[in-house]
Protein backbone atom coordinates (compact mmCIF):
# COMPACT_ATOMS: atom_id res chain seq x y z
CA UNK A 1 0.00 0.00 0.00
CA UNK A 2 2.85 2.29 0.80
CA UNK A 3 4.13 1.90 -2.71
CA UNK A 4 1.16 3.72 -4.13
CA UNK A 5 2.06 6.93 -2.35
CA UNK A 6 4.49 9.02 -4.40
CA UNK A 7 7.78 8.98 -2.57
CA UNK A 8 8.10 12.73 -2.26
CA UNK A 9 4.76 12.90 -0.43
CA UNK A 10 5.61 10.01 1.87
CA UNK A 11 7.16 10.97 5.18
CA UNK A 12 10.63 9.57 5.53
CA UNK A 13 10.96 6.29 7.37
CA UNK A 14 14.32 5.43 5.93
CA UNK A 15 17.43 6.79 7.55
CA UNK A 16 19.53 9.13 5.43
CA UNK A 17 22.16 7.44 3.29
CA UNK A 18 25.15 8.52 5.39
CA UNK A 19 23.52 7.12 8.53
CA UNK A 20 22.77 3.85 6.79
CA UNK A 21 26.27 3.48 5.42
CA UNK A 22 28.06 4.40 8.62
CA UNK A 23 25.87 2.20 10.85
CA UNK A 24 26.21 -0.77 8.51
CA UNK A 25 29.96 -0.26 8.32
CA UNK A 26 30.28 -0.04 12.10
CA UNK A 27 28.13 -3.11 12.63
CA UNK A 28 30.10 -5.08 10.07
CA UNK A 29 33.38 -3.99 11.60
CA UNK A 30 32.29 -5.05 15.09
CA UNK A 31 30.99 -8.38 13.88
CA UNK A 32 34.13 -8.87 11.86
CA UNK A 33 36.49 -8.17 14.76
CA UNK A 34 34.47 -10.07 17.31
CA UNK A 35 33.41 -13.11 15.27
CA UNK A 36 34.85 -13.40 11.76
CA UNK A 37 38.48 -12.64 12.63
CA UNK A 38 38.56 -15.22 15.46
CA UNK A 39 37.16 -17.91 13.15
CA UNK A 40 39.69 -17.08 10.46
CA UNK A 41 42.45 -17.09 13.06
CA UNK A 42 41.53 -20.57 14.26
CA UNK A 43 42.13 -22.02 10.82
CA UNK A 44 45.18 -19.84 10.16
CA UNK A 45 46.87 -20.94 13.38
CA UNK A 46 45.88 -24.55 12.80
CA UNK A 47 47.65 -24.59 9.44
CA UNK A 48 50.42 -22.15 10.41
CA UNK A 49 53.04 -24.88 10.70
CA UNK A 50 51.96 -26.61 7.54
CA UNK A 51 49.56 -29.26 6.47
CA UNK A 52 51.72 -32.06 7.76
CA UNK A 53 51.81 -30.77 11.32
CA UNK A 54 48.07 -30.25 11.12
CA UNK A 55 47.45 -33.77 9.91
CA UNK A 56 49.88 -35.30 12.39
CA UNK A 57 48.42 -33.46 15.34
CA UNK A 58 44.99 -34.80 14.47
CA UNK A 59 45.83 -38.36 13.47
CA UNK A 60 49.24 -39.01 14.98
CA UNK A 61 48.43 -38.29 18.59
CA UNK A 62 46.74 -41.22 20.35
CA UNK A 63 45.43 -38.94 23.11
CA UNK A 64 43.70 -36.70 20.56
CA UNK A 65 42.27 -39.69 18.72
CA UNK A 66 40.93 -41.05 21.97
CA UNK A 67 39.45 -37.65 22.79
CA UNK A 68 37.59 -37.68 19.46
CA UNK A 69 36.07 -41.08 20.20
CA UNK A 70 35.18 -40.12 23.75
CA UNK A 71 33.58 -36.86 22.64
CA UNK A 72 31.42 -38.75 20.15
CA UNK A 73 30.34 -41.33 22.73
CA UNK A 74 29.57 -38.71 25.38
CA UNK A 75 27.73 -36.36 23.03
CA UNK A 76 25.68 -39.11 21.40
CA UNK A 77 24.68 -40.55 24.77
CA UNK A 78 23.75 -37.17 26.19
CA UNK A 79 21.77 -36.27 23.06
CA UNK A 80 19.94 -39.62 23.14
CA UNK A 81 18.99 -39.13 26.79
CA UNK A 82 17.76 -35.60 26.16
CA UNK A 83 15.96 -36.64 23.00
CA UNK A 84 13.76 -39.10 24.87
CA UNK A 85 13.25 -36.52 27.60
CA UNK A 86 12.54 -33.75 25.12
CA UNK A 87 9.86 -35.73 23.31
CA UNK A 88 8.21 -36.79 26.57
CA UNK A 89 8.31 -33.29 28.01
CA UNK A 90 7.00 -31.70 24.82
CA UNK A 91 4.14 -34.19 24.60
CA UNK A 92 3.13 -33.61 28.23
CA UNK A 93 3.49 -29.83 28.11
CA UNK A 94 2.20 -29.04 24.62
CA UNK A 95 -0.74 -31.46 24.57
CA UNK A 96 -2.10 -31.31 28.09
CA UNK A 97 -2.97 -28.73 30.70
CA UNK A 98 -2.20 -29.64 34.29
CA UNK A 99 -1.36 -27.87 37.54
CA UNK A 100 2.33 -27.02 37.78
CA UNK A 101 2.78 -26.84 34.03
CA UNK A 102 4.39 -23.39 34.13
CA UNK A 103 6.64 -24.49 36.97
CA UNK A 104 7.73 -27.48 34.89
CA UNK A 105 8.59 -25.17 31.98
CA UNK A 106 10.73 -23.05 34.28
CA UNK A 107 12.45 -26.12 35.72
CA UNK A 108 13.42 -27.26 32.24
CA UNK A 109 15.23 -23.93 31.82
CA UNK A 110 17.20 -24.26 35.04
CA UNK A 111 20.32 -25.81 33.44
CA UNK A 112 20.63 -22.74 31.22
CA UNK A 113 21.07 -20.49 34.21
CA UNK A 114 23.40 -22.72 36.20
CA UNK A 115 27.11 -22.24 35.66
CA UNK A 116 28.57 -25.31 33.94
CA UNK A 117 31.12 -25.53 36.71
CA UNK A 118 28.37 -25.76 39.32
CA UNK A 119 26.66 -28.38 37.16
CA UNK A 120 29.81 -30.47 37.30
CA UNK A 121 30.23 -29.84 40.99
CA UNK A 122 26.81 -31.21 41.96
CA UNK A 123 27.67 -34.55 40.35
CA UNK A 124 31.01 -34.65 42.09
CA UNK A 125 29.17 -34.08 45.38
CA UNK A 126 26.62 -36.75 44.57
CA UNK A 127 29.00 -39.47 43.51
CA UNK A 128 32.34 -38.72 45.11
CA UNK A 129 31.97 -36.56 48.21
CA UNK A 130 32.51 -38.55 51.41
CA UNK A 131 29.32 -37.14 52.93
CA UNK A 132 26.92 -38.67 50.41
CA UNK A 133 27.08 -41.75 48.23
CA UNK A 134 30.80 -41.51 47.53
CA UNK A 135 31.85 -44.31 49.89
CA UNK A 136 29.07 -46.59 48.64
CA UNK A 137 30.11 -46.14 45.04
CA UNK A 138 33.72 -46.73 45.95
CA UNK A 139 32.84 -49.93 47.79
CA UNK A 140 31.02 -51.23 44.76
CA UNK A 141 33.78 -50.14 42.41
CA UNK A 142 31.46 -47.95 40.40
CA UNK A 143 33.39 -45.05 39.01
CA UNK A 144 31.14 -42.24 37.87
CA UNK A 145 33.39 -39.26 38.50
CA UNK A 146 36.43 -39.59 36.30
CA UNK A 147 34.65 -42.14 34.15
CA UNK A 148 32.61 -41.88 30.99
CA UNK A 149 29.26 -42.05 32.80
CA UNK A 150 30.12 -38.93 34.78
CA UNK A 151 30.95 -37.09 31.57
CA UNK A 152 27.63 -38.18 30.07
CA UNK A 153 25.66 -37.09 33.14
CA UNK A 154 27.28 -33.66 33.31
CA UNK A 155 26.85 -33.12 29.57
CA UNK A 156 23.22 -34.26 29.70
CA UNK A 157 22.58 -31.79 32.53
CA UNK A 158 24.02 -28.85 30.64
CA UNK A 159 22.23 -29.67 27.37
CA UNK A 160 18.95 -30.81 28.91
CA UNK A 161 16.72 -27.91 27.75
CA UNK A 162 17.69 -27.79 24.07
CA UNK A 163 15.47 -30.43 22.49
CA UNK A 164 12.49 -29.94 24.81
CA UNK A 165 12.63 -26.16 24.28
CA UNK A 166 12.70 -26.63 20.53
CA UNK A 167 9.87 -29.15 20.41
CA UNK A 168 7.33 -27.51 22.73
CA UNK A 169 6.52 -24.52 20.47
CA UNK A 170 6.59 -26.69 17.34
CA UNK A 171 4.17 -29.20 18.83
CA UNK A 172 1.91 -26.42 20.07
CA UNK A 173 1.90 -24.80 16.66
CA UNK A 174 0.94 -28.01 14.89
CA UNK A 175 -2.07 -28.50 17.14
CA UNK A 176 -3.65 -31.74 18.31
CA UNK A 177 -6.32 -32.07 15.60
CA UNK A 178 -4.59 -34.72 13.51
CA UNK A 179 -3.73 -36.77 16.58
CA UNK A 180 -7.29 -36.51 17.87
CA UNK A 181 -8.54 -37.70 14.48
CA UNK A 182 -6.10 -40.61 14.52
CA UNK A 183 -7.18 -41.54 18.02
CA UNK A 184 -10.85 -41.43 17.09
CA UNK A 185 -10.09 -43.76 14.18
CA UNK A 186 -8.68 -46.27 16.64
CA UNK A 187 -4.93 -45.69 16.42
CA UNK A 188 -3.01 -46.60 19.54
CA UNK A 189 -0.46 -44.36 21.21
CA UNK A 190 2.62 -45.58 19.35
CA UNK A 191 0.83 -45.47 16.01
CA UNK A 192 -0.20 -41.88 16.67
CA UNK A 193 3.32 -40.95 17.65
CA UNK A 194 5.15 -42.63 14.76
CA UNK A 195 2.67 -41.88 11.97
CA UNK A 196 1.19 -38.51 12.93
CA UNK A 197 3.23 -36.65 15.53
CA UNK A 198 6.74 -37.52 14.43
CA UNK A 199 6.30 -36.55 10.75
CA UNK A 200 4.90 -33.22 11.93
CA UNK A 201 7.75 -32.38 14.27
CA UNK A 202 10.69 -33.98 12.50
CA UNK A 203 12.40 -30.75 11.42
CA UNK A 204 12.04 -29.17 14.83
CA UNK A 205 13.34 -32.39 16.31
CA UNK A 206 16.34 -32.42 13.98
CA UNK A 207 17.05 -28.79 14.78
CA UNK A 208 16.96 -29.45 18.51
CA UNK A 209 19.23 -32.47 18.12
CA UNK A 210 21.77 -30.45 16.13
CA UNK A 211 21.87 -27.64 18.69
CA UNK A 212 22.04 -30.09 21.56
CA UNK A 213 24.85 -31.99 19.88
CA UNK A 214 26.88 -28.86 19.16
CA UNK A 215 26.70 -27.82 22.77
CA UNK A 216 27.34 -31.36 24.02
CA UNK A 217 30.50 -31.78 21.95
CA UNK A 218 31.77 -28.36 22.96
CA UNK A 219 30.95 -28.49 26.65
CA UNK A 220 33.92 -27.56 28.77
CA UNK A 221 33.18 -26.37 32.30
CA UNK A 222 30.95 -29.18 33.52
CA UNK A 223 33.11 -31.80 31.86
CA UNK A 224 36.28 -30.29 33.28
CA UNK A 225 34.95 -30.73 36.81
CA UNK A 226 33.72 -34.33 36.59
CA UNK A 227 36.55 -35.58 34.42
CA UNK A 228 39.86 -36.50 35.92
CA UNK A 229 41.23 -34.90 32.74
CA UNK A 230 43.54 -37.84 32.14
CA UNK A 231 45.02 -38.12 28.67
CA UNK A 232 43.69 -41.00 26.65
CA UNK A 233 41.13 -41.80 29.30
CA UNK A 234 38.74 -39.08 30.39
CA UNK A 235 39.67 -36.21 28.11
CA UNK A 236 37.17 -34.86 25.61
CA UNK A 237 38.14 -32.65 22.67
CA UNK A 238 37.62 -29.30 24.44
CA UNK A 239 39.67 -30.55 27.40
CA UNK A 240 42.30 -31.71 24.93
CA UNK A 241 42.42 -28.20 23.46
CA UNK A 242 43.03 -26.82 26.93
CA UNK A 243 45.77 -29.29 27.81
CA UNK A 244 47.64 -28.72 24.53
CA UNK A 245 47.32 -24.98 25.10
CA UNK A 246 48.77 -25.27 28.59
CA UNK A 247 51.62 -27.37 27.25
CA UNK A 248 52.31 -24.54 24.76
CA UNK A 249 51.59 -26.82 21.81
CA UNK A 250 49.84 -24.02 19.99
CA UNK A 251 49.59 -25.54 16.52
CA UNK A 252 48.29 -28.86 17.88
CA UNK A 253 45.85 -27.08 20.12
CA UNK A 254 44.50 -25.05 17.20
CA UNK A 255 44.32 -28.15 15.02
CA UNK A 256 41.94 -29.74 17.51
CA UNK A 257 40.12 -26.43 17.90
CA UNK A 258 39.65 -26.26 14.12
CA UNK A 259 37.67 -29.51 14.29
CA UNK A 260 35.35 -28.00 16.87
CA UNK A 261 35.07 -24.78 14.87
CA UNK A 262 34.17 -26.80 11.80
CA UNK A 263 31.45 -28.45 13.84
CA UNK A 264 30.13 -25.03 14.84
CA UNK A 265 30.09 -23.82 11.24
CA UNK A 266 28.24 -26.94 10.10
CA UNK A 267 25.75 -26.41 12.90
CA UNK A 268 25.14 -22.85 11.73
CA UNK A 269 24.72 -24.01 8.15
CA UNK A 270 22.13 -26.61 9.15
CA UNK A 271 20.37 -23.99 11.26
CA UNK A 272 20.13 -21.55 8.35
CA UNK A 273 18.91 -24.31 6.01
CA UNK A 274 16.27 -25.53 8.43
CA UNK A 275 15.10 -22.00 9.12
CA UNK A 276 14.72 -21.29 5.45
CA UNK A 277 12.67 -24.46 5.15
CA UNK A 278 10.55 -23.36 8.10
CA UNK A 279 10.17 -19.93 6.53
CA UNK A 280 8.96 -21.43 3.27
CA UNK A 281 6.47 -23.57 5.13
CA UNK A 282 5.26 -20.63 7.15
CA UNK A 283 4.35 -18.90 3.93
CA UNK A 284 2.23 -21.86 2.84
CA UNK A 285 0.58 -22.53 6.16
CA UNK A 286 1.02 -19.80 8.71
CA UNK A 287 0.56 -22.00 11.76
CA UNK A 288 3.38 -24.39 11.05
CA UNK A 289 6.52 -23.71 13.04
CA UNK A 290 5.30 -20.26 13.99
CA UNK A 291 7.88 -19.17 16.54
CA UNK A 292 5.54 -17.32 18.87
CA UNK A 293 2.97 -20.08 19.01
CA UNK A 294 3.82 -21.12 22.55
CA UNK A 295 1.23 -19.78 24.93
CA UNK A 296 3.47 -19.00 27.80
CA UNK A 297 6.85 -20.05 26.61
CA UNK A 298 9.43 -18.28 28.69
CA UNK A 299 12.37 -16.47 27.39
CA UNK A 300 14.76 -19.33 26.95
CA UNK A 301 14.06 -20.13 23.35
CA UNK A 302 15.80 -16.89 22.58
CA UNK A 303 18.74 -18.05 24.55
CA UNK A 304 19.24 -21.11 22.40
CA UNK A 305 20.15 -19.86 19.03
CA UNK A 306 17.40 -17.39 18.54
CA UNK A 307 15.25 -19.69 16.48
CA UNK A 308 12.53 -17.05 16.65
CA UNK A 309 13.63 -15.20 13.55
CA UNK A 310 12.42 -17.32 10.68
Amino acid sequence: MRHEVPSRLRPQREDPLWVRVSLTATATAILGLLVAVPVANVFYQAFAEGLKVYWDSLTGDPATLHAMGLTLVVALSAVALNLVFGVAAAWAIARFRFPGRTLLLTLIDVPFSVSPVVAGLVFVLLFAAPEFFGPWFREHHIRVIGGTSGLILATAFVTLPFIARELIPVLEAVGPEEELAAASLGANGWQIFWRVTLPNIKWGLLYGVILCNARAMGEFGAVRVVSGNIEGQSQTLPLRVNMLFQDSKTAQSFAVASLLTFLALVTLLVKVTLERRAGAKAMMGPQELAPEAGVDQPVANQSLMGHGQS
Binding site: P11, R13, D15, T28, L34, V35, A36, P38, V39, N41, V42, L81, V84, F85, A89, R95, F96, R97, F98, L104, T106, L107, V110, S113, V114, S115, P116, V117, V118, L121, V122, L125, A129, F132, F157, E179, L180, G189, I192, G218, F220, G221, V225, P238, S253, F254, A257, L260, T261, L263, A264, L265, L268, P291, P298, L304, M305, G306, G308, Q309
Partner: protein
Protein backbone atom coordinates in the same frame (compact mmCIF):
# COMPACT_ATOMS: atom_id res chain seq x y z
CA UNK B 1 -9.51 -28.57 25.32
CA UNK B 2 -7.40 -29.89 28.13
CA UNK B 3 -9.87 -32.35 29.59
CA UNK B 4 -10.88 -33.67 26.18
CA UNK B 5 -7.25 -34.21 25.26
CA UNK B 6 -6.41 -36.12 28.37
CA UNK B 7 -9.28 -38.50 27.82
CA UNK B 8 -8.69 -39.00 24.10
CA UNK B 9 -4.95 -38.64 23.57
CA UNK B 10 -2.80 -41.29 25.22
CA UNK B 11 0.45 -40.96 27.09
CA UNK B 12 -0.27 -38.18 29.56
CA UNK B 13 0.80 -40.13 32.64
CA UNK B 14 3.75 -41.76 30.91
CA UNK B 15 5.17 -38.57 29.40
CA UNK B 16 4.61 -36.39 32.44
CA UNK B 17 5.88 -39.09 34.76
CA UNK B 18 9.05 -39.57 32.77
CA UNK B 19 9.60 -35.81 32.48
CA UNK B 20 9.35 -35.32 36.22
CA UNK B 21 11.45 -38.41 36.92
CA UNK B 22 14.25 -37.37 34.57
CA UNK B 23 14.26 -33.77 35.78
CA UNK B 24 14.38 -34.87 39.41
CA UNK B 25 17.18 -37.33 38.83
CA UNK B 26 19.36 -35.12 36.69
CA UNK B 27 18.60 -31.62 37.94
CA UNK B 28 16.61 -31.32 41.15
CA UNK B 29 18.30 -33.91 43.34
CA UNK B 30 21.85 -32.96 42.31
CA UNK B 31 21.16 -29.25 42.85
CA UNK B 32 19.53 -30.00 46.19
CA UNK B 33 22.70 -31.87 47.17
CA UNK B 34 24.59 -28.66 46.65
CA UNK B 35 22.45 -26.85 49.20
CA UNK B 36 22.43 -29.80 51.62
CA UNK B 37 26.21 -29.96 51.50
CA UNK B 38 26.48 -26.24 52.13
CA UNK B 39 24.01 -26.48 55.02
CA UNK B 40 26.40 -28.83 56.81
CA UNK B 41 28.63 -25.88 57.42
CA UNK B 42 27.77 -23.65 60.34
CA UNK B 43 26.84 -20.15 59.39
CA UNK B 44 30.14 -18.69 60.52
CA UNK B 45 32.08 -21.38 58.64
CA UNK B 46 30.00 -20.73 55.57
CA UNK B 47 30.56 -17.02 55.84
CA UNK B 48 34.29 -17.29 56.41
CA UNK B 49 34.47 -19.52 53.31
CA UNK B 50 32.47 -17.41 50.93
CA UNK B 51 33.81 -14.07 52.13
CA UNK B 52 37.57 -14.50 52.00
CA UNK B 53 39.65 -11.87 50.30
CA UNK B 54 40.22 -14.23 47.40
CA UNK B 55 36.52 -15.03 47.02
CA UNK B 56 35.52 -11.37 47.24
CA UNK B 57 37.98 -10.50 44.50
CA UNK B 58 36.60 -13.33 42.38
CA UNK B 59 32.95 -12.22 42.82
CA UNK B 60 33.89 -8.64 42.11
CA UNK B 61 35.65 -9.58 38.92
CA UNK B 62 32.93 -12.01 37.82
CA UNK B 63 30.12 -9.51 38.32
CA UNK B 64 32.07 -6.49 37.15
CA UNK B 65 33.29 -8.07 33.95
CA UNK B 66 29.90 -9.66 33.28
CA UNK B 67 28.17 -6.34 33.80
CA UNK B 68 30.51 -4.43 31.52
CA UNK B 69 30.27 -7.07 28.80
CA UNK B 70 26.47 -7.15 29.06
CA UNK B 71 26.36 -3.36 28.70
CA UNK B 72 28.63 -3.60 25.65
CA UNK B 73 26.32 -6.27 24.30
CA UNK B 74 23.37 -3.93 24.68
CA UNK B 75 24.96 -1.30 22.44
CA UNK B 76 26.35 -3.78 19.95
CA UNK B 77 23.12 -5.78 19.98
CA UNK B 78 20.87 -2.79 19.27
CA UNK B 79 23.15 -1.69 16.46
CA UNK B 80 23.30 -5.15 14.87
CA UNK B 81 19.55 -5.69 15.21
CA UNK B 82 18.78 -2.28 13.72
CA UNK B 83 21.08 -2.82 10.75
CA UNK B 84 19.71 -6.31 10.24
CA UNK B 85 16.05 -5.30 10.31
CA UNK B 86 16.13 -1.90 8.59
CA UNK B 87 18.84 -2.05 5.96
CA UNK B 88 19.69 -4.29 3.09
CA UNK B 89 23.29 -4.80 2.13
CA UNK B 90 25.46 -7.44 0.46
CA UNK B 91 26.14 -10.66 2.39
CA UNK B 92 23.36 -9.94 4.85
CA UNK B 93 22.70 -13.66 5.24
CA UNK B 94 26.29 -14.30 6.23
CA UNK B 95 26.08 -11.36 8.63
CA UNK B 96 22.93 -12.84 10.15
CA UNK B 97 24.41 -16.32 10.49
CA UNK B 98 27.65 -15.04 12.04
CA UNK B 99 25.71 -13.48 14.91
CA UNK B 100 24.79 -16.96 16.14
CA UNK B 101 28.33 -18.28 15.96
CA UNK B 102 29.12 -17.52 19.63
CA UNK B 103 26.32 -19.92 20.62
CA UNK B 104 27.62 -22.66 18.35
CA UNK B 105 31.35 -22.29 18.95
CA UNK B 106 32.69 -24.30 21.90
CA UNK B 107 33.77 -21.93 24.64
CA UNK B 108 37.22 -23.50 24.84
CA UNK B 109 37.82 -22.55 21.22
CA UNK B 110 36.65 -18.99 21.88
CA UNK B 111 39.04 -18.67 24.80
CA UNK B 112 41.92 -20.19 22.89
CA UNK B 113 41.54 -17.97 19.86
CA UNK B 114 40.95 -14.75 21.79
CA UNK B 115 44.02 -15.38 23.91
CA UNK B 116 45.99 -15.89 20.72
CA UNK B 117 44.55 -12.87 18.89
CA UNK B 118 45.37 -10.40 21.66
CA UNK B 119 48.73 -11.84 22.69
CA UNK B 120 51.73 -9.67 21.71
CA UNK B 121 52.37 -11.75 18.59
CA UNK B 122 48.71 -12.18 17.66
CA UNK B 123 46.84 -10.62 14.77
CA UNK B 124 45.38 -7.86 16.92
CA UNK B 125 47.82 -7.87 19.83
CA UNK B 126 50.74 -6.87 17.63
CA UNK B 127 49.04 -3.52 17.07
CA UNK B 128 47.38 -3.15 20.47
CA UNK B 129 50.15 -4.24 22.83
CA UNK B 130 52.58 -1.51 21.64
CA UNK B 131 49.80 0.97 22.43
CA UNK B 132 49.69 -0.40 25.95
CA UNK B 133 46.46 -2.32 25.45
CA UNK B 134 46.87 -5.77 26.96
CA UNK B 135 44.03 -7.89 25.62
CA UNK B 136 45.41 -11.25 26.71
CA UNK B 137 45.84 -12.34 30.33
CA UNK B 138 44.09 -9.28 31.64
CA UNK B 139 40.70 -8.11 32.82
CA UNK B 140 40.14 -6.52 29.44
CA UNK B 141 40.53 -9.96 27.90
CA UNK B 142 37.85 -11.34 30.19
CA UNK B 143 35.45 -8.59 29.13
CA UNK B 144 36.28 -9.19 25.47
CA UNK B 145 35.62 -12.90 25.55
CA UNK B 146 32.45 -12.47 27.63
CA UNK B 147 31.21 -9.94 25.09
CA UNK B 148 31.80 -12.58 22.43
CA UNK B 149 29.94 -15.37 24.24
CA UNK B 150 26.99 -13.10 25.06
CA UNK B 151 26.80 -11.35 21.70
CA UNK B 152 23.67 -13.04 20.27
CA UNK B 153 21.35 -12.44 23.26
CA UNK B 154 20.46 -8.78 22.79
CA UNK B 155 20.36 -9.04 18.99
CA UNK B 156 18.00 -11.99 19.06
CA UNK B 157 15.66 -10.47 21.64
CA UNK B 158 15.53 -7.01 20.02
CA UNK B 159 15.36 -8.14 16.40
CA UNK B 160 11.85 -9.72 16.50
CA UNK B 161 10.49 -6.65 18.31
CA UNK B 162 11.92 -4.29 15.71
CA UNK B 163 10.43 -6.46 12.98
CA UNK B 164 6.93 -6.08 14.37
CA UNK B 165 7.00 -2.29 14.17
CA UNK B 166 4.78 -1.14 11.35
CA UNK B 167 5.67 1.73 9.12
CA UNK B 168 2.38 3.50 9.79
CA UNK B 169 3.18 4.53 13.36
CA UNK B 170 6.45 6.10 12.34
CA UNK B 171 4.87 7.73 9.31
CA UNK B 172 2.09 9.11 11.48
CA UNK B 173 4.67 10.59 13.84
CA UNK B 174 6.52 12.11 10.90
CA UNK B 175 3.30 13.52 9.47
CA UNK B 176 2.63 15.15 12.81
CA UNK B 177 5.96 16.88 12.51
CA UNK B 178 8.25 14.68 14.57
CA UNK B 179 11.89 14.81 13.65
CA UNK B 180 13.88 11.67 12.97
CA UNK B 181 15.42 11.76 16.47
CA UNK B 182 12.06 12.29 18.07
CA UNK B 183 10.74 9.26 16.24
CA UNK B 184 13.67 7.15 17.39
CA UNK B 185 13.41 8.23 21.04
CA UNK B 186 9.66 8.65 21.44
CA UNK B 187 8.28 5.96 19.14
CA UNK B 188 10.85 3.24 18.66
CA UNK B 189 12.81 3.25 21.93
CA UNK B 190 9.82 2.71 24.27
CA UNK B 191 8.77 -0.33 22.27
CA UNK B 192 12.24 -1.84 22.25
CA UNK B 193 13.53 -1.34 25.74
CA UNK B 194 11.76 -4.26 27.47
CA UNK B 195 13.46 -6.54 24.97
CA UNK B 196 16.76 -4.77 25.58
CA UNK B 197 16.46 -5.37 29.32
CA UNK B 198 15.66 -9.04 28.75
CA UNK B 199 18.63 -9.39 26.42
CA UNK B 200 20.85 -7.65 28.92
CA UNK B 201 19.74 -9.96 31.72
CA UNK B 202 20.30 -13.08 29.61
CA UNK B 203 23.73 -11.90 28.56
CA UNK B 204 24.64 -10.97 32.14
CA UNK B 205 23.44 -14.31 33.51
CA UNK B 206 25.37 -16.22 30.89
CA UNK B 207 28.54 -14.25 31.58
CA UNK B 208 28.42 -14.93 35.32
CA UNK B 209 28.49 -18.67 34.81
CA UNK B 210 30.97 -18.64 31.97
CA UNK B 211 34.13 -20.64 32.59
CA UNK B 212 35.59 -22.29 29.51
CA UNK B 213 36.37 -19.24 27.45
CA UNK B 214 37.56 -17.06 30.35
CA UNK B 215 40.20 -19.33 31.85
CA UNK B 216 42.18 -19.32 28.60
CA UNK B 217 42.49 -15.58 28.41
CA UNK B 218 42.35 -14.51 32.05
CA UNK B 219 45.72 -15.68 33.23
CA UNK B 220 43.91 -16.67 36.43
CA UNK B 221 46.06 -14.71 38.85
CA UNK B 222 44.79 -14.83 42.41
CA UNK B 223 42.90 -11.72 43.58
CA UNK B 224 43.42 -10.18 40.17
CA UNK B 225 42.13 -12.11 37.18
CA UNK B 226 40.48 -15.09 38.87
CA UNK B 227 36.74 -15.51 38.27
CA UNK B 228 34.38 -17.22 40.71
CA UNK B 229 33.83 -20.40 38.64
CA UNK B 230 37.61 -20.78 38.38
CA UNK B 231 37.86 -20.50 42.15
CA UNK B 232 35.32 -23.32 42.51
CA UNK B 233 37.35 -25.57 40.24
CA UNK B 234 40.55 -24.73 42.12
CA UNK B 235 38.95 -25.63 45.43
CA UNK B 236 37.58 -28.87 43.98
CA UNK B 237 40.95 -29.84 42.61
CA UNK B 238 42.25 -29.60 46.18
CA UNK B 239 39.31 -31.78 47.35
CA UNK B 240 37.92 -28.88 49.38
CA UNK B 241 34.35 -30.04 48.76
CA UNK B 242 32.71 -27.86 51.41
CA UNK B 243 34.52 -24.71 50.42
CA UNK B 244 33.84 -25.25 46.73
CA UNK B 245 30.19 -25.94 47.47
CA UNK B 246 29.83 -22.81 49.57
CA UNK B 247 31.09 -20.62 46.76
CA UNK B 248 28.93 -22.57 44.30
CA UNK B 249 25.84 -21.95 46.43
CA UNK B 250 26.49 -18.23 46.28
CA UNK B 251 26.79 -18.38 42.51
CA UNK B 252 23.81 -20.71 42.17
CA UNK B 253 21.56 -18.54 44.32
CA UNK B 254 22.42 -15.48 42.28
CA UNK B 255 21.67 -17.41 39.09
CA UNK B 256 18.25 -18.36 40.41
CA UNK B 257 17.47 -14.80 41.41
CA UNK B 258 18.44 -13.71 37.91
CA UNK B 259 16.34 -16.47 36.34
CA UNK B 260 13.32 -15.35 38.36
CA UNK B 261 14.01 -11.76 37.40
CA UNK B 262 14.22 -12.66 33.72
CA UNK B 263 10.88 -14.47 33.92
CA UNK B 264 9.25 -11.50 35.63
CA UNK B 265 10.72 -9.12 33.05
CA UNK B 266 9.50 -11.34 30.26
CA UNK B 267 5.97 -11.40 31.63
CA UNK B 268 6.05 -7.68 32.27
CA UNK B 269 7.26 -6.81 28.78
CA UNK B 270 4.69 -9.14 27.26
CA UNK B 271 1.85 -7.47 29.13
CA UNK B 272 3.22 -4.11 28.03
CA UNK B 273 3.44 -5.18 24.43
CA UNK B 274 -0.18 -6.26 24.20
Amino acid sequence: MATVNRRVLPGFRLSLGYTVFYLSLLVLIPLAMCYIQAARLSFSDFWSTVWTERARAAYGLTFGASFVSAILNVFIGILLAWVLVRYSFPFKRVFDALIDLPFALPTAVAGLVFANLYSPAGWLGRYLVPLGIQGAYSRLGIVLVLTFTGLPFVVRTVQPVLETFDAETEEAAATLGASRWQIVWRVIAPGVYPAVITGFALSFARAIGEYGSVIFIAGNRRNETEIAPYLIVELLDQFEFSEATAVAVVLLTISFVLLALINVLERWSKSHAS
